[in-house]
Structures are given as structure tokens and as C-alpha cells.
Symmetry: C2
Subunit: 290 residues, 2 copies
Amino acid sequence: MTPDIRIADTESHRNAPPATRRCALTPMPSSRPLAELLRLMGIDVDDSTPSMAFSVPLWQVSTGATLLLEGAPATHVHVVRTGTFKSIKTAEDGYEQVLSFSSPGDVLGFEALCEDRQHTGAVALEDSIVFAISKRDLMLWRRLFPTLDHALQLALSRRLAGAGEMTELMAAVSSEVRLARFIVWWSGRMSALGQSPRRLRLRMSRRDIASLLGIAHETVSRSFSTFVECGVLSVANREVEIIDMARLKMCTRNTRGLTDETPYRAAVGGRPAGLRQRTRSLEAASLTLN
Amino acid sequence: MTPDIRIADTESHRNAPPATRRCALTPMPSSRPLAELLRLMGIDVDDSTPSMAFSVPLWQVSTGATLLLEGAPATHVHVVRTGTFKSIKTAEDGYEQVLSFSSPGDVLGFEALCEDRQHTGAVALEDSIVFAISKRDLMLWRRLFPTLDHALQLALSRRLAGAGEMTELMAAVSSEVRLARFIVWWSGRMSALGQSPRRLRLRMSRRDIASLLGIAHETVSRSFSTFVECGVLSVANREVEIIDMARLKMCTRNTRGLTDETPYRAAVGGRPAGLRQRTRSLEAASLTLN
DNA sequence: CGATCGTTTGACGGTGCTCAATCACCGTGG
DNA sequence: CCACGGTGATTGAGCACCGTCAAACGATCG
């Protein structure tokens, strides 16, 4: 008995989640006009153009459902309309590596165009709705609607730029800095979506954040606590409020996280404060008088 | 004297390099047929088609030269023909964060399409040659040559997939695993380019690797040494030979780097060996009845 | 209300960042 | 030809940070 053992835990404490809920994906009979899709992707469009009324199918994805299954054939490209997704890659030992988070306007599934199989999965973090464009239609529509083509190019360009930002996120040495950068990054996205950049509602678990940042989820928790103690953040579960954006952004630039003193002089241009007891680095800096 | 103060060193030991050699970029009078560009991008083409003879301008970039300058207006998109590049983002304190390395066939500068300014720079790590396509031409040629359009789409898709791989690289907890993943990744690229996957010639410095992986460059050095001691690698400066690919790839999957025992049983499918003294994780594994 | 999962906090030990010194390798100029 | 910086790579020593293991608490849902 108990055949088929699945090892779920090499990346140690970072367990694979319950995992097996790849359901609740409704192809949804509804659809929306092309104009809405384009606006979502940041293109100003003129509704009067007849082609703008062309209708694009919508899918509904409920919390925890798998929109893109790893290993499945790549059939559709999606644009998030509402909701949040995490992109993941599952190792053979079951550890689930989070690669990115997606918000409305983001394109999902485009990576798979170059292969025929989906190499990265996507899971809804809340009840979400996505535009769904089949691979065949995509080719066709791009010729048919130059504006869509342009929008796609823009979106891809943005995603590439976003990948660079992710690399920056993860390249920080200190875990506090990583978290600070993540919060600032998320705040920026919320702001771009017309939501408050200060009062954030994180859709993802601590473990998801930890996975993305490459640190232990306990460390995420602790870093949050540190920021709260220092009066930079206010945290209640997944509700995060940024109290002192200036200090938070300063953290973003340093190697070491928040330090004891150094309130926040010189938000810009001044010597980056917040070094714990590191002074030599300033002497070592290339001083050149003006 | 010595005007213009530049703080160069917040990310501590990770100094900004000499930095100021943004020169030696020759617009090169020569050019090559479109067919070659497409083949470089992984598309099979038929030379007999007349449009395949269309000629695409070439630029020459010598070692250390800046192909894409951060902050400069985005005018061209490039495809690497020969050579290697690093993509970088320079913080205001002068610290140079490496975002990725590019080899022949890779697209550079596409991120900048969505903005008008280059937000990430690109520097040649060796004497290189790139195809150069102006933004205006790009739009035009995509309509003119559907094959180019397709190739671009493919290349972008691949770059997106590659960004996911980078995230995986950096998400490893242990620095040895990070380095192992980096080596395997680089080996794979070399292999895809028709070069030896075992004898690698790294084009980048230890510091560049360290920056990308988010660790100290001393740690990169130490990790290399560890691999040499264990007989997995043979390292002479930037010449790296992979002695035991199986062990190296195993490292790739673990949290902790090389372990003492566990030679290498069960390359695939079996329980991932190499856990230091972690047994509980097996019990915690999700046992699934069939 | 109990079960499960997510979050927080504590304690401990090891990894890796920091600082430093040394060596190898260049191209330059005496 | 060999001193001479200058840069990159390697190695060592010390200690702080964070990964690991544990336990307690809170939230959510049936």
C-alpha cells in the first residue's frame, strides 16, 4: 500500500503546498470587446472604430485554481483582467518555486510559445478573470488588429523590463532589503493600477514571498516584524500599510536593512544612511570635490 | 580640483568597476543578409527567397564597450551575432548590478521599447558583433518580412522563459547551489551554441557572477574551490571544466551544496540524495495512495 | 468547535559577508 | 630585461545573519 511516493521537500522547510487543486476553471460564456483588452494593456483606443467591438473570450479562475498547468500543451495566451496570479515551477522533488506575481494587464503564457509545452505554471491567488486567446487566434488577430499587435509588443517589452526588476529584487544580500524591495515593487504596481500605494493587501502567503525572494518564510515574518518595530510598516496578516515610505525606500538601496539610528536625513543625494556600523565604505568611496 | 563627488560603494565590497570606458563602438560599414539573422535566431530559412537577401546592418563592439547606455534614448534593438554581453543596472551609489548575460542569438534592448529610455545597460565582455535594427525599421520590417516577425516572437518568448530560469538560479538558498546552477545553465547555453558543454570559457569576472547571483565574490571563489576539491570541476581562472556533470547537476537540486557522502545514486526519479542530515522531510512528504 | 493551514516567535548552529593579506597576471615604462 | 602599479583571483579569520527545527498562536472553513 501507499504506492507512488512523492517526495515533497528537498528545499527543506519550504514545503510544497497542498498542491492538488487544479480545478475550478470555468471557460465562462461571456466575453468583452477588444477595446477593453487594449485599454487594460495600456493603450488608448477609440471605441468608434468598428474592430474595437470585436469580442474576446473571458475565463474565470477561482482562488487556488491552476490556469496554466506545468507540462500541459501550450494552447492559449492570457491577459489578466482582474485578480492575481503566481507563476511557479515545480521541481521534481515537489518544491514549488515562485517565479513571479501577475496583476491585471499582465500577459501569461507567452513563454510557452517557443516550445509546445508549458514550462511554467500559473495559479490564481484570488478569484480572477482572464482574457483567453488561443495560439491560432493570436497569429490571426495580430494581423487583423495592428493595435493589438502593438499592445502585445508593449506588454512583452514591459514584462522583460519587469524581469529585470525581479532580478534586482533577488540580488539584494540582506533579507530585509529583499523584502523592502518587494514591498516597494508591489506598492508601485498597485499604484499603477490606480490603487493605494500605501495600504497594500498582499494576495500571496509568506511562503510564496519567501520562495520568490529565496529566503526562509520565517525570515520573511521576522523582517516584517522588524519593519513594524521601526515604525516603517504596519502589518496585520496580509494587510500591510506603509507608514514611512521614505525610510522603506532607503532600505531598498542599502546592503543591510534598517538600522538603529539614522532617522532619515538626506532622502536623496546624501550619503546613503542606514549602514549599521560601516563607516569605512564612505572613506573608500571615490571622493571627488566639486 | 577633482570635481564631482560620486559615492561608489554602498553595496559595500561590491565596488563599481573602473566604469568609464563607454567607447570603441564601431557602426561598422558591413552588413549581413536577413537569412543569417533568422538562422541565428533559430529559424530555418530558404535562401532562395529574394527577401532573404535583404541586408541588415552590423555593429562591432569591442571588449568593455557599452552597447546600451543606461538613461540614453532607446533607438535600436540588437541581436547578438558573436560575443558575450552583460546587462546591468547601475544604482545611484554606483553599484553595478548584473541582470543577465547574453550570447549569440539573444535580443538586446527590447525592454526599452515600452519606454523611450534605456533603463538597463549592456556591456560587451569580449569583442562582439551585433545586428542593429532601428526602432523605426523594426516596425516596418516586421510587416515586410513575416518570418522576421515570427523569429522575434520566438526570441522574446525564449527570453521570457530565460528570465524564469534566472529567477530559479537566484532563488537557491545556498551559494554553492547557486553557482552550480549557474554553471549548468551556462553549460547548456554553450551546448545550444554548438560548443562544448564541458569545457567552458567564462567571459565574465567573478565579481560579475557574484553580482548576478547575489552573493559576495569571495564566496564565488570559495565555492569554485569547493567544487574543485570534490572533483566536480576543474578551474583555472576563467577556464572551467566540468569533470562530473552528474554530481554537479545533483547539486543543482539540493538546498545545501555538495555533501560529504552520497556519491550519486538515483540520478532521476529516486529520492534526491545529498541531504545533509535531513530525514524528517521524507515523512513530511506527501504520500499519495493510488 | 475542532481541524488545518498560515503566521509569529524563540533558540541554536552554520553559512557567508566583511575585512585583510597574498598571489598571479598584465601591460607599461624605466 | 626586470621593477612598477593595477586588476582579478584566492585564501584566511571573525562574527553577524539567517536557515533550521520547534512550539505556540491566530485565522479560516467545514
